[in-house]
Amino acid sequence: MTIPPAYQAYFAETDADRRKALLDEIKAKDADDALLPLCRALWKLRYVDPKSGRRVDLFLWEILNLICLYRTAGWMKKSARKEVIRALEALGVSLAAPYGEAGEAVLSAELANAMRLYLSTCDSKSYRKRLMGLSEMKTGDWQYKVAGDIWRLSEGLPEKLDMKAAFALLGRVAREEFCKAFENGETLLEERRHAKKS
């Protein structure tokens, strides 16, 4: 199932406040839209801290958290698996499940949105720095580093924890967004895969 045109702008936008305004616009046009409750619930899940109520981006955090988990999940895989399940909950997997195919499409678009934001942060100075910030990575090394993050999220962690099914959606979205952002995305991911095997 594809996302209805009314939501295209919403899923293209990465700013939380503008996204909220776009959702309000959709509601004003058609308050009975079937996807609206899920989109609103996902927006709240992503941007509102359940404890303090302040503005956060929990989807972005969980993406980063899962990439980091690959490195820390050496032993004690049971607790790492629990953490993954909790992270996938925080990414709205169970929230979208009752909506069936339409729910999966919306969640997929929301994850793609978060993934795009993550990839945009990879162009920051702090991400490209080398040796305590004394120098910056060359473009090739930087792309390779981003590919490493995507590989860990889409293949490395699922393989390590034997949770390929649970990661299917997130992994697919991560790979797709990476390949959209980088022309040589597939090659970079293949290099990463090969480096891990050799």
Binding site: R54, R55, D57, C68, T72, C122
Partner: protein
């Protein structure tokens, strides 16, 4: 090789760590064979040698543990050695000149380390100064403060059997290496903090992608500062173990230990790029550094050779770290 790497036990412990343990065994065998040859009448295989190497490993281990947190966030702390010395000098001076009770002096030592951690953390996290520059500056400050406070005199902590010498039991008690037990306990706490708590995850993620952590709503300044505070705190604790082993501290020194602690970290698998840290690796690295120091002295060479070797190790480890992150094609 692939078969070994894929072995369950090897995977659980980590291939790099097994290699490092192999290096320890290899070094021990090498020094055991070479010491009698190069320095006639001397032997490396003795209880005293092991205890002496451990004495060195304790404080380097604490320094390495601390700097692991900072490197995990993508920063560096070049002030740990002089901060350790400043802590030992100030607290020792309070003990010997002002008769401050020993437990208070131990707390002063930790407090001085913590203060330097706060100073470094504040300037790096809240004032956005490069950690390289900040820690270089605080290294000078620590050296200066230690000298000024003690009026450029060395400070000698109470020796064994003297009054107030019970702090030495932290190193060795009835031939039991209590220092090793305490180092392992602190390392275990550090491992839990770094790998199993939210604070540790924030620190690792800051080292991996600081901008993403900031955008996700995490107060990156607070957690970055905490890493420097832990580093300072552990430098203060290292000071106690240093005086526990050697009793005398001289002002204006300590910077040679920075390299050794950083070498221990990088050898152990902590990445200078941030986001990847190994507490167990840092401890193993500290043991290697200590063993090399002991071996070089046992073979009759001066400590200067140790500095050369440590420098080479840092170069090799950092180069290996950078090369592993380079794109192959």
């Amino acid at each position: 090789m692939e078969k070994i790497k894929n072995n369950k036990i090897v995977k659980a412990i980590g291939f790099n760590r097994i290699v490092l343990i192999g290096v320890i065994i290899l070094l021990y065998v090498l020094f055991s064979v070479l010491t009698p040859v190069l320095h006639a009448g001397t032997t490396f295989v003795s209880y005293e040698r092991i205890m002496s190497a451990l004495n060195y490993a304790y404080f380097i281990g604490f320094l390495a543990l601390g700097v692991t947190f900072v490197i995990a966030t993508g920063g560096i702390d070049f002030s740990i050695g002089p901060v350790m010395f400043a802590s030992a000098l100030i607290s020792g001076y309070c003990l010997t000149k002002y008769n401050v009770p020993l437990p208070v002096c131990l707390l002063i030592s930790i407090g001085v380390g913590l203060l330097f951690g706060v100073l470094n953390g504040y300037f790096v996290a809240y004032r956005f100064l490069p950690s390289f520059i900040t820690s270089m500056a605080s290294m000078q400050i620590a050296k200066g403060i230690g000298s000024v406070f003690t009026k450029t005199q060395s400070v000698t902590w109470p020796a064994s059997a003297a009054e107030n010498s019970w702090y030495r039991y932290l190193i060795k008690w009835n031939n039991i290496p209590t220092g090793l037990i305490l180092l392992c306990i602190v390392a275990a706490i550090c491992a839990v903090v770094l790998h199993k708590t939210r604070a540790g995850r924030y620190m690792l993620c800051i080292g991996s992608n600081k901008e993403a952590v900031r955008l996700s709503g995490v107060n990156t300044k607070r957690w970055e500062m905490l890493a420097y505070m832990i580093c300072g705190l552990l430098a203060g604790i290292a000071a106690i173990f240093y005086v526990g082993a050697y009793t005398t501290v001289q002002p204006g020194l300590g910077d040679t230990f920075n390299n050794e602690a950083i070498a221990a970290c990088v050898m152990g698998g902590t990445s200078m790029a941030g986001g990847l840290a190994s507490i167990l690796g840092s401890i193993i690295g500290a043991v290697i550094v200590a063993l090399m120091q002991e071996g070089i002295l046992a073979m009759g060479f001066t400590i200067s050779y140790q500095y050369v070797l440590t420098g080479l190790i840092v170069l090799a480890a950092v180069t290996a770290d950078i090369m592993s992150r380079k794109r192959k094609n």
